[in-house]
């Protein structure tokens, strides 16, 4: 199967700093890939680049069949991304937030806020509490539940375990496994909780200084099909 994420010497720059300094990477449908590495290695930037939030300025990047170098905007609505910050509206209640973001994502009106909340076992009493009042873990659960409800084929999760309690972790891991195994979703997660994350992942990639340090398998898939893109090799650094 064609890789969902296909990067060849991808470079991304934050300010003037090349947070990704030439990353080559394949991830296939149904695969759970753990991205690990020291602080500041570029893990978050890698996930954000795949989500189309950060431009890839050198190299090649094709995600979900979309060429990010040519136009990264279309990929955004296709991925499910959870970053370090929640981005929910603090002043709006949990239910209102869930409803708004589900509608915005074009989810069917049949999917109720309650059912989204239930997917991460968020207590019903919290539905009417403003998100700003939630505990860290409760907020995290809302973000994860929203992301997982999008029906995306690529999940990009930045330290998803952070803040979750034991139950939450089990629930989350089960959801990820189910998505990968049953639905063929490709999951990339960055994490520092190596034991937990490695037991969940099929494969681990170590990022150091913006480049892949050690990947167990050589990345050798051919470029996936894209609209009208000639694979041009522009290796940098």
């Amino acid at each position: 199967m064609a890789p969902v994420v296909w990067l060849r010497s991808a470079v991304s720059v934050l300010g003037r700093f090349p947070a990704l300094a030439g990353v080559t990477l394949d991830a296939s449908p149904g695969e759970i890939v753990l991205v690990q590495g020291p602080n500041g290695a570029g893990k978050s930037t890698l996930l954000r680049a795949c989500a189309g939030l950060v431009p890839v300025v050198r190299g090649e990047a094709i995600v979900l069949g979309i060429d990010l170098v040519a136009d990264r905007l279309p990929v955004r609505r296709e991925v499910a991304y959870v970053g370090h910050a929640s981005g929910l509206y603090d002043e709006m209640t949990v239910a209102d937030n869930v409803t708004f973001w589900s509608r915005a994502a074009g989810l069917s009106r049949d999917i109720s806020a309650a059912s989204v909340m239930a997917s991460m076992a968020i207590a019903a009493r919290l539905a009417d509490v403003p998100v700003g009042k939630l505990s860290a873990g409760q907020k995290r659960r809302v973000s994860l539940a929203l992301a997982m409800s999008r029906g995306s084929m690529l999940w990009l999760l930045d330290e998803p375990h952070a803040g979750l309690d034991a139950d939450g972790r089990d629930l989350f891991d089960a959801a990820v496994r189910h998505a990968a195994r049953e639905l063929g979703v490709c999951v990339m997660l960055a994490s520092h909780e190596l034991e937990r994350a490695e037991s969940l992942a099929d494969r681990t990639i170590t990022l150091v200084g913006g480049t892949v340090h050690a990947a167990p398998a050589a990345e050798n898939a051919p470029a996936p099909q894209v609209g009208a893109v000639e694979p041009q090799v522009t290796h940098v650094g």
Partner: protein, 227 residues
Amino acid sequence: MWGDAALVAAKDLRLELRSRVVTNQIAPVAVVVLMLFGFGLDADVGVLQKVTPGLYWVTVLLMALLAIGRSVDAEATAGARDMLRLSGLDPAAIFLGKAAALVAQLLVLEAMLLMGVSLFFHATIKGYVLVFVAGLLGTVGLASIGTLYGALTGGTDSKQTLLPLLFLPAVAPVLLGAVRAFEGAFGTNPHPDDGWPWVRLLGVVAIVYTAVGTLAYGPLLEGSDPA
């Protein structure tokens, strides 16, 4: 797209309904500002009446700035911008929705302010239709410029650019046109023209900026947080 715009507008209005900042807090402020103007210029009633349209629109501008601040703050955190970008909402829809919510809030404020002005400044409205049309168009112009301006200033890095200076030439014609139109409507205009010609200016600005916003909001939302 219209559905998305309605969704966003409803969301912004819901945030307002929850906090009631505009109705309960910005509104009284508007009244107080008017009073300060009135008292600051009390020297003679003639001057006061002459500057009433100007004071009215400056007050509206201040209210608009506060309301825009609120509207921008809602999406100010890095996380919220990401969510919005990933949401799948058409940027044009986001722009239209946010501007519409702003128009709704400002219109309520302006109606209140108009009552205040006629009570405290003894302004007598001669042309109701003119006031209504000029008010509406001016508000649409302000709201769309404000929403654009918000996108420019919302991201962290753009604070260091001179982009916000664009606000200046954009908002000046709106306020000017609106003031002139109101001078016509209040009968305080020394010139014989009755204000309607200015409405055309307001209309043009409203249309142009709504169009510009609809097209440019995407790139702005995009470019406003380079990190």
